[in-house]
Amino acid sequence: MLAYSLFLCQTSTRLGVVTLDLLFSVRLPKLVVFISRDSPGERFRRSIPCAFILVLPVVCRCWGVPLLCLSAVAGEVRFNRDIRPILSDHCYQCHGFDDAERKAGLRLDERIAATSRLPSGHAAIVPGSAAESALVRRIRDVSAEQLMPPPHVNKPLSAEQVSLLATWIDQGAYYEKHWSLVPPQKPRPPSVANASWPSNEIDQFILARLEDSNLESSVAANRATLLRRLSFDLTGLPPTAEELDAFVNDSRPDYYERAVNRLLSSPRYGEHRARYWLDAARYGDTHGMARDDERSLWPYRDWVIRAFNDNMPFDDFTIRQLAGDLLPKGSLSDLVATGFVRCNVSTAEGGSIDEELVVNYAKDRVETMATVWMGLTLGCAACHDHKYDPLSQKEYYQLAAFFSGLREEPMNGNALAPDPVVAVLSPDQAQQLADLTTQRTEIQNEYARHVASSQVEDFNRWLAKSASEYVRDHKPDWKESPWYESRSFKQRNNTAIYFDEEFSPEESVDLQGESQGWQERKAMPEQGILVRDDNVAKFYYREWTGSLPTTRTLHLKSNESTWKPVRWKVWLNGRLVYFKQFRQFDVPFEVDIPLSSQAGTNTLLVKASHFGGPLRATIFLEPLEEVADRERETLEAIAAASRHVASPPQHVAALDYYSRHVWSHGKEFSAANARIEESRYKLEAIIPVSMICREMEQPRETYLLQRGLYDKPLERVDREVPLILPPFDGPRDRLGLAQWLVDGRHPLTARVAVNRIWAQFFGVGLVQTSEDFGSQGEWPSHPELLDWLACDFQENDWNVKRLIRKIVTSATYRQSSRGRSELLTADPQNRLLARGPRFRLDAEVIRDQALFLGGLLVEEQGGRGVKPPQPGGLWQAVSQPNSTTARFVADKGTAARRRSIYTFWKRTAPPAILQTFDAPTRESCIVRRERTNTPLQALALMNDEQFFAAAKGIAQRIIEHDVLTDEARLEWAFRLVTARDISPSELNQLTAQLQRARTYYRAHPGEAEELTGTQNAEEAAWVLLANTLLNLSEVITKE
């Protein structure tokens, strides 16, 4: 409350109400006591702040001053809390760390410099004597030309700020290192007067501050409200009626902890937690720039969800995302985690300059890393030394250099998954693959059994009875067609997993018809094929006939060093016998494919698909003459064996041929093996991929860039961390960087992480500016609590669920959120937490809840982004027509009704319903969402297709519910949407509302029919009632 008086003083000064200013700075502390104790003089005194409140909101919005100022006026002035914010905001621009911008040689961010004698002969600060300090003279009692800060910069100091600076100097002008750069020490939780209230340490810190401010905590929220709050906070969904009943009636002493445990172990927990992280990670399902084509990175999204559900410690979580590819024993999952680094927007816009893109991507990555883990606004140092924090421009590029080794092409080629990527099997696919391996082992074992039991015997019998006949009837007499080449089949898009669109030749080859456009190839593909067109598939076809079964080799090769992905498929006699996806780093490539040629006609179909630019390759089919020469020898060997005159090699050759092409068990084995191989290829062809990190052997060189411009490199810089942070002694790569962030000495990482999690529960962080822990950031509302939580988090192995359990089991969290009149003035933003948190639910929760209440939500986990319906034309309005995301086609069925975390995120036109409720675009890192209240939100809640479907779903549930009276139905429905029991007044209102709706629809049966498909006014009335319920403020608010 002391702070409040300061705030009013600042406010009034700006308004020029100087006399009141003086009055308040003296009297308000007392006034607070009057208000909270309700003493006789109250009415008179209360009227004074009321008058101020009328102007207060406008002013505080204008100047960005938080409603609750977190400093003190009386007593000792503390540099970090009281002085640094003033110097930073009003002085450092010209008298700070950035020596390029420094004026008059004066530097105020360091005590030695600030107290030294200046060229003018004065000292800005004379410790112990404000009167002698030039600084004090220049901020008061001087002409406009002399006044600091200069009036034109529009950052005048308030009288209170002036007096604080003077007091500070009088008290010795002691500096402190910026609080967030001093490693946290775990403080002892303070003792409190009301010792029975705290449930855990959090409450001691909160209550101590409340007691200091003469504020009382609130009563505990009722159980129903509490379970609803807890369910939203831990899972993003409301509780069911059954869960409510169980919770409300649970008489066990640990009923609350049990509910917490149940919710923490729900798979919904990870889906909800991941949502916040994906804003910070700037995750999206498109590349975000220029054509904004789809990108395949969703396995990373699923990784984040799983990591939260598995309660991965935050240090591991950090290391894997920043450097999973560099871990010595990194798994597939660790590779997928590095998708974090690749989440930045990228482009393939024609005309772009590679060097510029490399710089842009590196900037995005380093700034995101700095915001997410350190709460540092590093971006300020891209063009010049940081104005407010001691971060030099050189340090910016040294830190960026950690990201200089990524092996990626600057232009993303509009590919679905620009390299480097990794194939990621779903559990289902992994099972299928395992099954195929098992099957293969089984048939191999079976074949081995046959070999052991009867191979030699059968061979000898064949040699004796049929071999000479076989040699007589089978000759290497093959004849073959020329090669044919199909027309180019334009792939409509590359949004299928890779570019695997199927075309008619795969069904059946029609050499005569026009649609496939077959042409005889004059030059053999052995001499090379060239597919000129962009993003097409081309087919090559050949057939041959002969009486002798054999094996013929197909050889595919490309020497071209291209970054374009290429995909090959080969069918022999209608069966897929080869599949391979080559990516940009696999080329040049070369592969031999053995083809089992049968007696009679053989057909060979080769498909080459590629993306981007021309493809050059050769398709080399072993010449028949060579096959004939080889098999002539085999036939001779068989003949010799049948006459018992074979040499040992001839005998082996004869047995081998017999086993493959004659022996029934051998042929069965080949056929079974081919079937399994085909299944495996088909599976491989649809296995999704995810963008990951890979390091180049030689990283790109990083330069300090003049004004941040890519084409103005100055000196070359090496990987290094900023001087103000702990020393770096690990390997100089991303892994070393990640380990350095979480090695326990870092002053920022844990504080920033716990602060962000705290904000998820209380709506605002202990440091309100979650993204800025620097001098321009806000002083924490509870510095000791923040440090305690940070230390506790680190000491307990960065255990996220433990931290969250600590928060939600605190008495602070469990308070009622009901507003109290004294709090409306003393702490309107609830920073002191004299009541529980109350704020509008986030976009995803609002949508998910509606589907859930309407009985529509489909809880299926993971997979490619889904497209719930949205108003038409939103993608088209912004897209280039040939983009893979030019046209929005809504998913049907269950895919349309999944949780919003799975909604496909096109970054140049984000999901409309989510954006309406303040979801960011995901183009850049966001660690704090805005929370607004707009008419467009009202329209969405009233009219959006899915919200209205949810209302119909609720109406249906009401009607089907096994109670019959209106009253019972309304009570049930109200509890469904709010979790609490309806009050008599509310029941009256709803009953009247229902009656009005009935009357209306009885009078308008046509509208009832439009609404429900029947003229039944009863059903229509319930739909309107459900629509009413879903639009209640309480329903979209965490109470």
Partner: protein, 470 residues
């Protein structure tokens, strides 16, 4: 503040006591004017920005370079190019031959401003325009260049100009969004460059300041129409129930956000009437429809959007942004440029004339232009009819009209090759600074604290171009 006419302050204040009422008031106010730094006299109250996405060819439309005819086909002298960077689309081209404009230019109006034959209607209103031949930018590709001119930064993440203006000046209407974006059909390239929601986004400003895309098909504003079976009367009935229960809850839990929400529901309800009134142009007199041309009857055409823009500013919309895509003539310059000009010529001229005849031009600022210009040399073989021009950031033409801008002037000169600026260069930051100035906003004072820094539309740059001001 005006948003509140239906929910009176008294109603807030009466039931809850002064504190809560006032705080609710604050919550709503925050939705309106957040910034009070406009100390300058405002000449313009609102802006209509006609954005030609893709980069119109300045030397085929406004920047007349008669001397190039003689040099047609000759190599661009290195002394002019000065080795500065080209896009990779022509940096590999072995020759950069000068392509003189094939179009006839004539002087028009009292002021004798040169305009190409492709823009016959605009030629008739040149006396109202300030033609600026020397706008320049650093970005050489569409995505960064559009993002730059619209948000003051080449990378995504900053608020758009319209969002800044909305934030700075608030809303003048209680029935419509303050910042509206319209998308137009185009006739040129079938595969034009994309645009991005960030071009009208709010960046780090609260999202209430973002532009509302008004659509020509379906609901003009997202989710505006009631579902089937919900008539306006039923909607009113439902809203009364919602409001009544919300008020009950407000009294119970004393959360000012509830009061604000009640007001927003009322505004939503009003929009359900006011937006269709806005978009139904059937009652416009025939004379007006004739001005805008026959396409004005086709929703989604540039002409229909210009007409809508006028109706919007009449109703107090602060910032209207019309996008017209397809100006990226790397090839087929002649064919496509004619089509593009055909889309916009008559309607933009009509917009100026229509605003003027209603007295609205005095306090409405109209801005026309794209993200950069096009090269004087050809992209592709100059002898084939399919040649075009590459991106050119070093000088391009925009025009402004009304709202505090000096009419009938031509500002700046480019060199005879239309390659470099000879005098009077106006950077895109200067342009934005000048637009804000016309609106009474000092671009250095319009700031928002984010990540510890006070951000501006003009970053740390920008100069108000006094020469353009009336």
């Amino acid at each position: 503040m005006s948003e509140l006419s239906h929910i009176t302050r008294r109603r807030f204040c009466s039931s809850l006591g002064g504190m809560l009422g006032t705080l609710a008031w604050r919550d709503l106010q925050a939705g309106d004017v957040a910034f009070k730094g406009n100390t300058l006299p405002a000449r313009a109250k609102r802006v209509i920005f006609l954005f030609m996405a893709g980069g119109p060819s300045q030397l085929d439309l406004f920047d007349h370079k008669p001397k190039l005819t003689k040099l047609h086909g000759e190599e661009l002298p290195p002394s002019i190019r000065q080795g500065q960077r080209l896009t990779t689309m022509t940096s590999g081209q072995s020759s950069l031959p000068i392509a003189a404009s094939p179009y006839r230019f004539q002087r028009h109006g009292q002021t004798g401003t040169f305009v190409s034959e492709l823009l016959p209607h605009l030629s008739e209103v040149v006396d109202d325009l300030a033609v600026i031949k020397t706008v320049h930018t650093e970005a050489i590709n569409h995505d960064p260049a559009m993002t730059y001119i619209q948000t003051g930064h080449e990378q995504p993440g900053r608020p758009s100009a319209g969002a800044w203006v909305h934030y700075g000046l608030g809303s003048e209407t209680q029935n419509l969004p303050a910042f509206i974006v319209l998308h137009s059909r185009w006739s040129g390239s079938l595969n034009p460059q994309p645009i991005f929601a960030r071009l009208w986004g709010s960046g780090f400003l609260p999202s209430r300041y973002q532009g509302v895309s008004m659509r020509s098909q379906g609901d003009p504003v997202l989710y505006l129409s009631n579902p089937r079976g919900i008539s306006p009367a039923a909607r009113r009935l439902m809203l009364d129930g919602v409001n009544s229960l919300n008020r009950t809850h407000l009294e119970d839990v004393a959360d000012p956000a509830i009061a604000a929400r009640i007001a927003q529901y009322e505004m939503a309800y009003r929009m359900q009437t006011s937006v269709p009134q806005l978009t139904q142009t059937g009652n416009e007199p025939a004379s007006v429809m004739k001005m805008y041309g026959p396409e004005a009857n086709e929703p989604g055409s540039f002409a229909a959007n210009c007409l809508l823009a006028r109706r919007m500013v009449e109703r107090g919309v602060r910032f209207v942004q019309i996008f017209h895509r397809g100006w990226d003539q790397h090839g087929n310059l002649d064919k496509d440029l004619r089509l593009q000009c055909g889309d916009i010529d008559q309607a933009s001229a009509a917009l100026i004339a229509d605003l003027k005849q209603r007295g609205l031009l005095d306090d409405t600022l109209v801005v026309w232009g794209g993200e950069f210009g096009r090269t004087t040399y050809s992209q592709g073989d100059l002898n084939s009819p399919g040649y075009g021009r590459d991106h050119h950031p070093r000088c391009f033409t925009m025009w402004m009209a009304g709202g505090g801008v000096k009419p009938g002037i031509t500002h700046g000169e480019t060199d005879p090759f239309c390659y470099n600026i000879a005098e009077g260069g106006i950077h895109v930051h200067d342009l934005n600074a000048t637009i804000l100035h016309c609106l009474g906003i000092d671009h250095e004072q319009l700031t928002y604290r984010y990540q510890g820094r006070d951000f501006r539309l003009t970053d740390v740059h920008g100069r108000v171009v006094q020469e353009l001001l009336a």
